[in-house]
Amino acid sequence: MSNVEQPDGTPDPQPGPGDELNKSSNGGAQSPGPVHGSGRNPLALVVVAVIAAAMVYFGFHMARRSGSDAPSILGKSTPAPDFTLEKLNGGNLKLSDLRGKAVLLNFWATWCGPCKIETPWLVEMQNQYGNQGLQVIGVAMDDSGKDEISKFAKDMGVNYPVLLGKEAVGDEYGGVPALPESFFIGRDGKIVDRIIGLKGKAEIEDAIKKALKTEAATSAAALQPSK
């Protein structure tokens, strides 16, 4: 039986000698001796309050992030972090191998309702802009197996590579706390735009056009090396 409490109950611990000592030391604050608190430094209190506030903030924040590493903030013109991931249909894909193309990197999952709406738009964009140099890449952030992801991709008529996502790659892209999330990467390997959540098709198209307008980088260092 894995009960936590004994049915008969255990008597509460009696105060020990250490408790008495603590009481004595607490009582010292009321003793007629010198009281250091009388000359409080307000600046020190402000510093303590700011530290406490920061602790409260980071406590909440870290709890929300479910223990993952703090993500880096990826802004526009930031080189897209490089990665290599397994493709759903076999083999690997390295992001930097797509240098010279505009890339729409779409993080999604089978359990994500808004992704289901967005995916046909991405299929359409790949058809429309593929010959101009667009490559849509889906990164499935599912815990479910390949079969379920394959079924979803087939049902949606996905015409672009789907990669099996890893948390480490998500972390490189800011943690990807919610789906869908898309990064638009220019031909030079730099992020030109980012869309979080389901937005309109027109916004996606505008961001694709921005990515397509970029010039291919002459330097091989446009993409961050993979980790």
Partner: protein
């Protein structure tokens, strides 16, 4: 110095509240459970326990029976002590709602407050006393534009197991048919 005129306690309170408010300002889905009053369960009998949950405003989670095979159902998984048997878990019906991301297809979801009932059945072998029941509620939340990875909420409540009333045995000494 002007700083010296400000009440330091006031400064501390304001700073703490600002920190908490700042932390809360980022949208994050959450489901919480209300405290469960102590459940008294008689041995050999089934006792229903009601668990009250709340989905944070602006979010919804799938019901236990979502309408798509790809959606993750809300499910309670209990890990009860040996000899306390888990009975049926009763989930509420979901609300059929359409969302901006699914205007043509209604989804079966929970939002706001919802309750799950479950039955616990202590066997005769259970020693009377208080036991803690542990479990988790698994859910996957979305708002109107995005979805969040599946999460689990720890669930626990106390059950006080009491003896069943003594069985009535025929006692010849008390029988009205016995005359001294």
């Amino acid at each position: 110095m002007m700083l010296a005129r400000i009440n330091p306690r006031f400064v501390c309170c304001v700073a703490l509240l600002c920190g908490a408010a700042w932390a809360q300002s980022g949208k994050s889905p959450s489901v919480s459970i209300a405290p469960v009053p102590l459940v008294t369960a008689q041995r050999t009998e089934q006792t229903m326990v009601r668990l009250d949950f709340r989905v944070a405003s602006g979010f919804h989670i799938n019901s236990n029976a979502p309408k798509s095979e790809f959606l993750i159902p809300t499910a309670l998984k209990m890990d009860l002590p040996t000899d306390i048997v888990l009975g049926k878990i009763e989930y509420p019906e979901g609300q059929d709602l359409a969302f901006p991301f699914s205007p043509d297809e209604k989804l079966s979801v929970y939002s706001g407050d919802f309750a799950i009932n479950l039955a616990v059945h202590p066997l005769k072998s259970v020693v009377p006393g208080k036991y803690v029941m542990h479990g988790v509620l698994r859910y996957q939340a979305c708002d109107n534009a995005q979805c969040f990875p599946p999460k689990t909420l720890p669930v626990s409540f106390d059950v006080k197991v009491v003896k069943e009333p003594p069985a009535h045995h025929a006692n010849p000494a008390q029988s009205p048919h016995v005359h001294n």
